[in-house]
Amino acid sequence: MSGQRIRLDRGAVEARLVDDELVIYEKRSRRYLGGNATAAALWPSLVEGTTMDGLAQALADSYGISLERAAADALRFVEALRAQNLLED
């Protein structure tokens, strides 16, 4: 899974930054979602398309945390996005 390509379904969501946090408009269900600063740090990579390894590295670089912890945080966020059907298949 760590090398598998992950990308946001860009037709399904729009996001904006407010004070380094994310505000997300989910178009299918016309809901608004929020994301913390970690989500905001990962968002650009997810828009472009990345891998779990890439996300973990981006997070470790942004926050100066261990790669192991960054991988766990990134996985939690990606699972949350997948549960909301916000990732491309």
Binding site: R16, L17, V18, D20, E21, V23, Y25, R30, Y32, A37
Partner: protein
């Protein structure tokens, strides 16, 4: 009754419907009239762009049929309003079952909010007053005390900016680092719920009955048609706190309060939902969003207006 041109929310509206605006001498943006009465039941024909289900008293908005430049708004058992976007006309057809005095309320609130939306302008469900040359606005769902607290401030000498509908704009001026937000004067009669109507009496404001069962407190309006927006405040009425507590909201929490406060809820059309999404993000990045815990009445504690405005401006 003769027609005149009044300005609310930056729009010049020519109509014989009595509006709570300032008479202006310029070309109207919209012409509004009362059309023949008709029974209003169920959604209108055309493509549904907005809906608030509430049985026979629901609300529906469609475009067409045949023309996306015609918006039909149906307020069940109350009225049908037709906006011709190219001709810039608004026609209200009252339902014979409804109180005929509802037309001014429908036009000044929902009607003009839809006219703004048709021009790509979102608006907040908010009341506002002027303080130190800027506007302080109060947002939140119905019943949260927006009009009551704005009325309290007006009674203490702060001019009214608007009640119910707040048109805002965010501008990044040339050579400026930060965007700035502004808002427009709207209707300045504060519509209070019956339980808050005692406030008008308590604070000595003039008041008159409203056809929708509320009481209109008559406030002195601001003389500015457009003001800088100093703060957007989420009021939290409290029966236990003795003093005002003001906290600044940031990030997604600030944005969430704005997203919860559109003047027009119930949009289905994505481009219209996006208008409010974009306005909320821009405001959250340009204006302090504050949460104010407010000792509640009536009776309201003496000095509350000064304490509240001071607390807001010191956090803005």
């Amino acid at each position: 009754m003769s027609a005149k041109t009044s300005e609310l929310h930056g729009l010049a509206v020519h109509t014989e419907v009595p509006l709570d605006g300032v008479e202006v001498d310029r070309a109207p943006d919209w012409h509004c009239s009362i059309g023949p009465a008709r029974a209003v039941d169920g959604p209108p024909p055309g493509r549904l762009i907005g809906e608030i289900p509430f049985g026979e008293l629901g609300f529906w908005a469609t475009t067409g049929p045949g023309s996306p430049r015609r918006w039909i708004l149906r307020y069940g058992a109350t009225a049908e309003t037709i906006l011709e976007l190219d001709a810039r006309t608004i026609t209200i057809h009252p339902d014979p079952r409804a109180d005929e005095g509802l037309a001014p309320l429908l036009l000044a609130g929902s009607g003009l909010a839809h006219a703004l939306a048709a021009d790509g302008v979102a608006a907040l469900h908010a009341s506002a007053v002027e303080a130190d040359g800027s506007a302080i606005s109060f947002i939140g769902p119905s019943g949260q005390g927006k009009s009551t607290i704005a009325g309290l401030l007006c009674a203490n000498g702060f001019p009214a900016v608007t009640d119910d509908l707040l048109r805002c704009e965010v501008i990044t001026e040339e050579k400026a680092d930060q965007p700035r937000a502004f808002c427009f004067r709207g209707g300045t009669r504060m519509r209070l719920r019956p339980q808050a109507a005692r406030l008008a009496e308590e604070i000595g404001m003039g008041a008159e009955a409203s056809v929708d069962g509320r009481v209109c407190a008559i406030a002195a309006p601001t003389r500015h048609r457009r003001l800088p927006l100093a703060a957007i405040v989420v009021p939290r009425p409290s029966r236990t706190e003795a003093h005002v507590i003001v906290e600044r909201l940031r990030g997604r929490r600030a944005a969430a309060e704005l997203l919860r406060s559109p003047r027009l809820p119930g949009w289905i059309e994505p481009s219209l939902i996006r208008l409010h999404f974009e306005l909320s993000e821009r405001l959250a990045n340009a204006v302090p969003i504050l949460e104010a815990t407010i000792p509640w009445g009536p009776p309201f504690p003496p000095g509350l207006a000064t304490e509240l405005v001071g607390g807001i401006l010191s956090n803005a």
